[in-house]
């Protein structure tokens, strides 16, 4: 390395009250506000402009996300992140108080909570990616399964949507591999959750659109996957940085304890921001 000494690398600048790294991370967070802000803006614009009966997914009774998302898991994840924020700030506080061992432990706990968040997120994602919505051109009825209908009012008059939600059990193909149809297990009717599971074969020609509840499922699901996906990437980034400090921290702590505490403070600022984004994501995506 070089002998160049950068001023205010560790001690705070009198004007801003911050050392370089802290000011830098705050500026970075300002840009992050604009990044997530643009995505929130997208969500609001698409939601306000969504044709009747397509938000959060085609055939939905209300516009609330909890019809297709799991609020319980999300609330659990909220608790994980809030707790991880506390452990993060405790990690920094302990380092500042000179207790390296406790500080590192708290950092490790933060990593563990972040990992738990990702595990829950994995289950949420995979349940969406294995759930299907099928829409028909006309009313569909076979083997005791009847398509549900939804009357949507549009600018061009009323439109009836015929649809089913459920799982694709099997894909029927001919010898050349062309898809002929699907064995579909519809979700039970609302209010009849205990009823026995039915199965029905749907020909490909009867289907207007078959899609998973993945990002291509609807505008809402697109927003959900992009925003939570990007947020998840931030979590992964945070885990990588924190693990790095967990593994290599002792070396720096011995030579420059103040600088090390500062680094943890910057990591913490980033981590609290990730938590803060989730605090807004949770009600906006899951509850409204």
């Amino acid at each position: 390395m070089s002998a160049t000494v950068i001023p205010y690398d560790v001690k705070p600048h009198p004007l801003t009250g911050m050392y370089n790294g802290k000011f830098g991370i705050w500026l970075f967070l300002a840009s992050e506000i604009m990044l997530f802000g643009a995505l929130f803006s997208t969500y609001v614009l698409l939601r306000v402009g969504a044709p009747d009966g397509t938000w959060p997914i085609i055939g939905a009774e209300t516009t609330r996300g909890d019809q297709i998302l799991n609020v319980g898991l999300a609330a659990l994840n909220t608790a994980f992140l809030i707790t991880s924020s506390v452990t993060m700030v405790l990690a920094w506080a302990n380092l500042k108080m000179g207790d390296f061992k406790k500080g590192q432990t708290m950092l490790l706990v933060t990593v563990a909570l972040a990992g738990a968040f990702l595990v829950v997120k994995y289950f949420e994602y995979s349940s969406k990616l294995h759930h299907y919505a099928v829409t028909f051109d006309e009313h569909f009825e076979r083997d005791g399964v009847e398509s549900r209908t939804f009357k949507a009012s549009t600018d061009n008059g009323d439109r009836t949507i015929h649809y089913l939600w459920g799982h694709v059990e099997e894909t029927k193909k001919d010898s050349e591999g062309t898809i002929l149809g699907y064995v579909f297990a519809p979700d039970p009717e609302p209010g009849h959750e205990g009823a026995e599971h039915k199965k029905v074969e749907i020909q490909k020609s009867e289907i207007a659109r078959l899609t998973t509840w993945g990002p291509e499922g609807s505008s809402f699901l697109g927003c959900y996957f992009v925003i939570t996906g990007l947020h998840g990437l931030h979590i992964v980034g945070g885990i990588v940085v924190m693990l790095w400090f967990v593994l290599t921290g002792s070396k720096m702590w011995k030579s420059q304890p103040d600088k090390y505490a500062n680094r943890i403070e910057c990591t913490g600022l980033y981590w609290h921001f990730v938590d803060l984004v989730w605090i807004f994501l949770f009600p906006v995506l899951y509850l409204l």
Partner: protein
């Protein structure tokens, strides 16, 4: 300040360097190469425009691959075989010309190059606040740029939906668009790292005595620019991610649904909004315009103050105008969207803000022009570029006003008039400022002065030809010739002004030739130019208190500032320049 730079191995000193000066020079040279490449794309397009569907001259044809870019045709008149630019190739060239010039050439040159090299020096700092982040920023820019160019080699060619990448066209475009989006995400990240570094450096690393109002205007311009990059780029990053999802994951953020391609309805959920892209794109791209011009104005201010040998007129007005300009640039973006049918209320609002933002621009230009009043001007090469910058930037700025008025915009929107307008701001404007900057700071970077005589030849012919390229565009635009048109002779009104197009093409070729003196001068002066000391221009700002070229760590002793940035011809002083640093 001692330095150990001579002990560093070559790759650490010149390739993965953390020294802001080396990184600045890396940026400058890389950006100049991209500038040349973007210019080359333009030459090929201009040849097609002047001589529609004629085989390209050998020099172009030999480097263009078929079949995506060039197509073999037989010239009916002469029976000669040759390659002609295809329509798809033209679209790809057009989109990439815009992208390369804006994101890979001008901004990296103005911010990454000049900003990196000059800004820490003018703040009296030993380096940027985060030297390794600075290196990371360059090493994201270069791969991002190369990734962008890689688009030319994929099936269907490079991105061909214009540099604005409006959906739904871009959503259904060939693979090149995906490459474009990935490249943009990398470049934006690089830009964000850079802007954080710049702001922290200016705010925290100013030396003792260098208060905010003693900062040279160049530093102010860079500071405002950094804020624009910091806050305006993320929405485009978000938009880029959304468009990427639309392309690879079949989402429909920008697709309202029911889009029929070749008779087949696109299988998406629908419910998206193409206007959303335009909002997010222009939320970046309008501040981006000021990112392009502000560093240029900063350079011009330095050069003018130095060569008029008197203080800038209205330094504080310049600073406040730049800040106001930066702020306002966030609320004018939809004047690019008057023709989208977004509604009259919104159009009126953006028309008003657009008129307001022209005021600080005019204040800046007026201050610079008044600074010339009564001065004993030294007509050095940088000053020649700076002087010619003023009227050309004025033309570029003032022709923008009719575009900001909704009524006039109806006629002029998407015509060559628009092309003329923004090229006058960016090409004769910013690029001339960049040349002024290269000539002005070359002695600081290399310890040698560039040749004045070659510089003047370079300036004279560039000045003539660049106006001959862009002036006809205004007339073509007012005649109704649309931009992004492959062949304007297909329309009657286009054919009527085809002569102007031919003129622009030959002027472009002339401009290419006029750059030869610069290239020769640049390399010749690097090794054989006249050696100079610390302060060859008798300038006042801090960078001239450091050795030329400055060592790692910049200053021999940490300077202390006692004066404003432009104290030239102070009555009672021995010299006609009083340096900021007290010896």
């Amino acid at each position: 300040m001692s330095d150990t730079s001579h002990e560093l191995p070559f790759w650490k000193k010149y390739i993965f360097s953390v020294d802001h000066k080396v990184i600045g020079i890396q940026y400058t040279i890389t950006a100049l190469l991209f500038l040349a490449f973007g210019f080359f794309l333009m030459l090929v397009m201009r040849y097609q425009l002047a001589y529609p569907n004629q085989p390209l001259p050998g020099v172009f044809a030999s480097v263009l691959g078929e079949p995506v870019i060039g197509e073999v045709v037989v010239n009916e008149a002469t029976g000669e075989k040759g390659k002609v630019l295809t329509g798809d190739g033209y679209n790809a060239f057009g989109a990439m010309h815009g992208t390369i010039m804006v994101f890979l050439a001008i901004v990296p040159l103005a911010v990454g190059g000049f900003g990196n090299f000059v800004l820490p020096l003018q703040c009296g700092a030993p380096d940027m606040a985060f030297p390794r982040l600075n290196m990371a920023s360059y090493w994201m820019y270069l791969p991002g740029g190369i990734l962008m160019l890689f688009g030319f080699f994929v099936k269907g060619g490079a991105a061909n939906s214009g540099w604005t990448s409006y959906p739904p066209l871009s959503t259904i475009a060939t693979t090149g668009q995906t490459i474009w989006l990935l490249g943009m995400v990398v470049l934006i990240t690089s830009s964000l790292l850079g802007s954080v570094n710049f702001i922290v450096t200016v705010v925290q690393l100013r030396v003792k005595g260098l208060s905010f109002f003693r900062l040279p205007f160049f530093v102010w311009a860079q500071l405002v620019t950094a804020f624009l990059l910091l806050l305006a780029f993320p929405p485009l990053e978000a938009a880029g991610i959304l468009q990427l999802m639309d392309r690879v994951a079949d989402t429909s953020f920008f697709d309202p649904g029911g889009l029929i391609i070749s008779g087949v309805e696109r299988n998406t959920a629908g419910g998206g909004s193409p206007l959303l892209w335009q909002h997010l794109f222009w939320f970046l791209a309008h501040p981006e315009v000021y990112v392009l011009i502000l560093p240029g104005l900063g350079i011009i201010a330095e050069v003018i103050a130095n060569n008029t040998r008197k203080p800038l007129w209205g330094y504080k007005s310049l600073v406040y105008s730049a800040i106001f300009l930066g702020f306002m640039s966030f609320i004018v973006w939809a004047h690019h969207m008057f023709m989208t049918g977004m509604g009259t209320t919104l159009s009126t609002f953006f028309q008003a803000t657009t008129m307001i933002i022209s005021v600080p621009s005019v204040i800046i230009l007026t201050c610079l022009i008044i600074s010339l009043w009564g001065a004993k001007i030294r007509f050095t090469t940088p000053m020649l570029f700076a002087l010619s910058f003023l009227p050309m930037f004025a033309i570029g700025g003032l022709t923008g006003l009719p575009l900001g008025l909704t009524a006039a915009d109806i006629h002029l929107h998407d015509t060559y008039y628009v092309i003329g307008h923004f090229h006058y701001v960016v090409a004769p404007g910013t690029i001339f400022a960049m040349f002024a900057g290269v000539y002005y700071w070359f002695p600081k970077a290399s310890g040698r002065r560039m040749n004045e005589w070659l510089g003047r030849i370079h300036w004279f012919f560039s000045f003539i030809f660049i106006n001959a390229i862009f002036m006809p565009f205004f007339f073509m635009g007012m005649a109704g010739v649309l931009r992004r048109q492959f062949d304007q002779t297909e329309t009657l009104h286009g054919a009527a002004v085809q002569g102007l197009s031919v003129m622009a093409t030959w002027a472009a070729i002339g401009l290419a030739v006029a750059q030869l003196p610069f290239v020769i001068n640049f390399f010749w002066s690097m090794f054989a130019g006249e050696r100079v000391g610390q302060n060859p221009w008798n300038a006042t700002t801090l960078e001239w208190s450091a050795p030329s070229p400055p060592p790692h760590g910049n200053f021999d002793t940490v300077p202390v500032v006692a004066r404003g940035p432009y104290e030239y011809s102070v009555p009672g002083e021995k010299d006609d320049f009083s340096m900021q640093a007290t010896a």
